[in-house]
């Protein structure tokens, strides 16, 4: 058996495309299709060629399709492990990736995408046509594989595609598998090439395919004045698409309502808005309301309720643990009053909670984590055993340094101007004046955060948000880029590593290991070489858990991550810096 650690390993990449494929057999009940009646030839078990759409039957697309078509590079030894051989089209030319990148500051980062280039070729259809034996045509001399496939399968967008990076002799299940959804297929071009573009599923949060709340279709049947406490929805019967009660937006006004049929009983002028006359025909838009909502619940509901990302890709249990450990008090309150890009809402939620989200293309899960100190001893990467020659580079990012954090919170109106200071009741400013002094950086670097989901009760969370932002960004970060052999490719985005290189030294020139968090991973040569980009994983001050009652007194050498209460003057008994609550 071959794997990453095998000397003389032979990398192989296998691309698997899931094609919708009807489970019925042509003309066999319940399929009522018949040659000469519903068509002049049998279907290809695809929706486009179906002649009895009422009985067309496939699993829901996205992650559970029926027919998997596999491609790999042409090579001398195609055979997979014993017993695993199947139809493996040797037409793969190239797989190029733009990996996802974690963005600690913006929360959602950039989406991963891959471009898969394939060679078109004549094909006898045996793998993709269940009726090739009875069709009576010379399929290999009619069209090409892809020209025929695209004609029969125009509905490929959003279908699953996997890229398996493994080694000759390795079982498919043991290969490292990345998961994407198809965005586009171009070609065949003049060179006979096909180009498949695929994205990670978080692409489904983009505004052109996912909004929250969903647009409401009802409007006022008649004018209402500012004092009216009831209204009727039009057209007749549209009320059934509204909840029994909730919050809605009419014009610039927020109302709460209770519904019976098409009739709404209203409480006017909610959320600091003013009850006004409203015209007939004005849209009554149901709002998405968060009221003291746990951050993990809000994120989960947003992705499950308003995107096509399957719930199986959202590890809610892990999210709850993250929230409980690091964001226990980060409950959110706010109203989204009109259909808004889920991506935009997600970004605001993540920025507000100093957390970040990314697609783990191997685990096939949306990962979510908060900024926090590392929980376990990170893996060491040194120049002797790990770091590839001439691959290490450090780049300073002075624009990412932060000396002040301004947090605007408790918005006045949820209906407009959420990115303007004038629409917020409160502002908290936190500054590291030492960093701004002429002895240090000598200038300010201000980060402004509009925390629309924090109300007047969230002062504590605002402090934590500002403190964590300063702790993480107080000094100019030096981004590290380096490459590793495939033997170390298990290191994934989000992981923290300990770098030891000749470029990381203390003031005296001695080597000094530093912790970095992987934000980007690109397997540039599949199964052979992996490029990484990492951010310093530094936390100013000393962070720890408060020691339980009955623990021994602080002695200057406490157990790992053991925090003690300081003296009244803010220092420990031996003048060490005090711990801080974040």
């Amino acid at each position: 058996m071959s794997d990453e650690s095998t000397l003389g390993r032979e990398p192989i990449t296998i691309v698997e495309l899931d094609q919708d494929f009807c489970t019925r057999e042509y003309g066999l009940s319940p399929c009522t299709a018949a040659i000469g009646v519903t068509g002049s030839f049998k279907c290809y078990n695809t929706r486009k060629t179906c002649q009895d759409s009422a009985n067309y039957s496939v699993d829901s697309h996205g992650f559970t399709n029926s027919l998997t078509i596999s491609f790999t590079q042409p090579r001398a030894n195609l055979q997979a492990a014993p017993g695993e051989i199947g139809t493996l089209f040797p037409t793969l030319i190239d797989v190029s990736s733009r990996p996802s990148e974690i963005n600690i500051e913006d929360g959602l980062g950039t989406r991963a995408s891959v471009t898969i280039t394939l060679r078109d070729h004549p094909y006898h259809d045996r793998y993709v046509d269940p009726y090739w034996q009875t069709r009576g045509i010379d399929a290999i001399n009619l069209g090409t594989f892809w020209s025929k496939w695209l004609r029969r399968n125009p509905y490929y967008q959003g279908r699953a595609i996997r890229i398996r990076d493994g080694y000759i002799g390795q079982l498919l299940g043991d290969m490292r598998t990345r998961h994407y959804v198809i965005e586009n297929i171009e070609g065949p071009n003049a060179s006979g090439e096909i180009r498949i573009t695929a994205k990670d599923p978080l692409k489904m949060t983009d505004g052109d395919r996912a909004v929250a709340p969903l647009p409401s279709s009802g409007s006022l049947l008649a004018d209402i004045n500012a004092a009216a406490v009831s209204a009727t929805l039009a057209p007749t019967g549209i009320g059934s698409t509204y909840p029994a009660s909730g919050t809605a937006r009419v014009g610039e006004e927020l109302v709460t309502f209770a519904r019976s049929g098409d009739v709404l009983t209203l409480v006017r002028g909610q959320g600091n808005t003013t009850a006004e006359d409203q015209e007939a025909g004005s849209t009554v838009q149901v709002c998405l309301v968060y009221q003291d909502e746990a951050i993990a619940d809000a994120l989960y509901d947003l992705l499950v309720g308003y995107t096509d990302i399957p719930a199986t890709s959202l590890p809610k249990t892990d999210w709850d643990e993250t929230a409980l450990t690091w964001l226990a008090s980060f409950n959110l309150t706010g109203v989204i009053t009109q259909p808004t890009s889920v991506k935009k809402i997600l970004t605001e939620l993540l920025q507000t909670s100093m957390s970040y989200m990314w697609w783990d293309e191997v685990a096939q899960e949306v990962k979510w984590d908060a900024i926090h100190p590392p929980l376990q001893t990170p893996q060491e990467l040194n120049e002797d055993q790990h770091l590839i020659q001439n691959s290490i580079a450090f780049t300073a990012k002075p624009e990412d340094r932060v000396s002040q954090v301004w947090v605007y919170f408790a918005p006045i109106l949820q209906t407009k101007d959420l990115d303007k200071p004038s629409n917020y009741k409160r502002l908290r400013v936190y500054a590291d004046t030492d960093a701004e002094s002429v002895q240090e950086y000598g200038q300010k670097s201000i980060r402004i955060i509009y925390a629309r989901f924090f109300d007047e009760t969230n002062d504590g969370e605002v402090i934590a948000l500002a403190a964590r932002t300063l702790a993480r960004n107080r000094d100019t970060p030096r981004i590290a880029a380096f490459s590793l052999d495939a033997k170390d490719r298990a290191i994934m985005p989000g992981d923290v590593v300990e770098l030891i290189t000749r470029d990381l030294i203390d003031e005296n020139g001695y080597p000094e290991s530093q912790q970095y968090q992987i934000i980007r991973r690109d397997e540039t040569e599949a199964g052979h070489l992996v490029q990484y980009v990492a951010l310093p994983y530094t936390f100013l001050y000393r962070y720890a858990y408060v020691m339980p009652d009955g623990s021994a007194d602080y002695d200057g050498d406490p157990p790992d991550r053991a925090g003690y209460i300081s003296q009244n003057d803010g220092t420990m008994i031996n003048d060490d810096d005090a711990y801080r609550i974040i």
Partner: protein, 276 residues
């Protein structure tokens, strides 16, 4: 009647002449692709149909669902056959032996390839004294712990084209001319930490000289026409090195040249394919 070729042996060829067994042979003639040929297989799983043996794709397979795994070829009429070519197979890794028999009546069978278990999944070319028969039968049997019959991508049964002269100086056997990407990795401190290898196939240059122009026109031109569209088997010295066989194709036109006096021709071509 499986034949072990030995140095110095003479074998008759399709052109009616007799050549030393060491002369190169090209296996392109194939009964399986003839319109009148009927194939019969033991039960196969979906996607592993017998027709996959006739498309020359080494990546589509015939595989019997269970042992016994048998494929019977009815050529429609008696045919001269002196080789069996097998490529894109898993005989070694799936622990199957292969046997080929022929018959004139589909009842009484005689071996032309005795049960053979190869030492790798490399292409195979069995060459033997020509037999004349209408029926042929390929049988796979389990060897050792093998439980699943091997898959076979390409199966050729037919008559070889024998080159009138041997290959000597300047020729590299196809099994020895590998096309391989070797990618080493070393660390910043200079330690060697890994190497990846990608085997992209094999190749061989074949240069044939002093061919009679009549022989070329009568025998070689048909191969040239075949090579425009399809791959073929090539054995550069069957008697001494019967396992140095390639299954490959030619990407450019094969064009002969008249050489010297006496109406002689020479021709060269490049084979790219699989041989390991």
């Amino acid at each position: 009647m499986s034949l072990v070729l030995s140095s110095g042996m003479l074998l008759s060829a399709a052109d009616g002449l007799t050549y030393p067994a060491k002369n190169p042979r090209i296996g392109y003639h194939n009964l399986l692709t003839a319109a009148t040929t009927i194939l019969t297989s033991t039960t196969v799983p979906p996607g592993m149909e017998k027709e996959n043996l006739t498309d020359y794709f080494s990546w589509t397979y015939w595989r019997s669902a269970n042992y016994p795994a048998t494929l019977t070829i009815d050529a429609g009429s008696a045919q001269d056959v002196d080789y069996v070519g097998i490529a894109g197979h898993t005989l070694f890794s799936d622990q199957s032996s292969v046997k080929v028999e022929y018959s004139t009546n589909a009842t009484t069978w005689t071996e032309c390839v005795s049960p053979f278990y190869p030492a790798s999944n490399a292409p195979l070319m069995f060459i033997f004294s020509a037999v004349t028969a209408r029926y042929f039968r390929v049988t796979l049997a389990a060897v050792g712990g093998g439980t699943l019959p091997a898959a076979i991508g390409v199966l050729n049964i037919g008559q070889t084209l024998v080159i009138p002269h041997s290959l000597y100086v300047g020729h590299t056997p196809i099994t020895m001319r590998k096309i391989t990407d070797i990618r080493p990795n070393k660390t910043e401190a200079g330690q060697w930490i890994g190497r990846s290898v990608i085997r992209r196939g094999n190749s061989a240059s074949v240069e044939l000289t002093h061919l009679s122009a009549d022989w070329y026109r009568s025998n070689f031109q048909e191969f040239v026409d075949h090579a425009i569209n399809y791959p073929y088997f090539f054995s550069w010295r069957p008697d001494e090195y019967p396992r140095e066989v390639g299954f490959g194709w030619t990407d450019e036109d094969i064009i002969p040249q008249l050489t010297g006096p006496g109406d002689m021709m020479s021709v060269s071509f490049e084979i790219t394919g699989i041989a390991q």
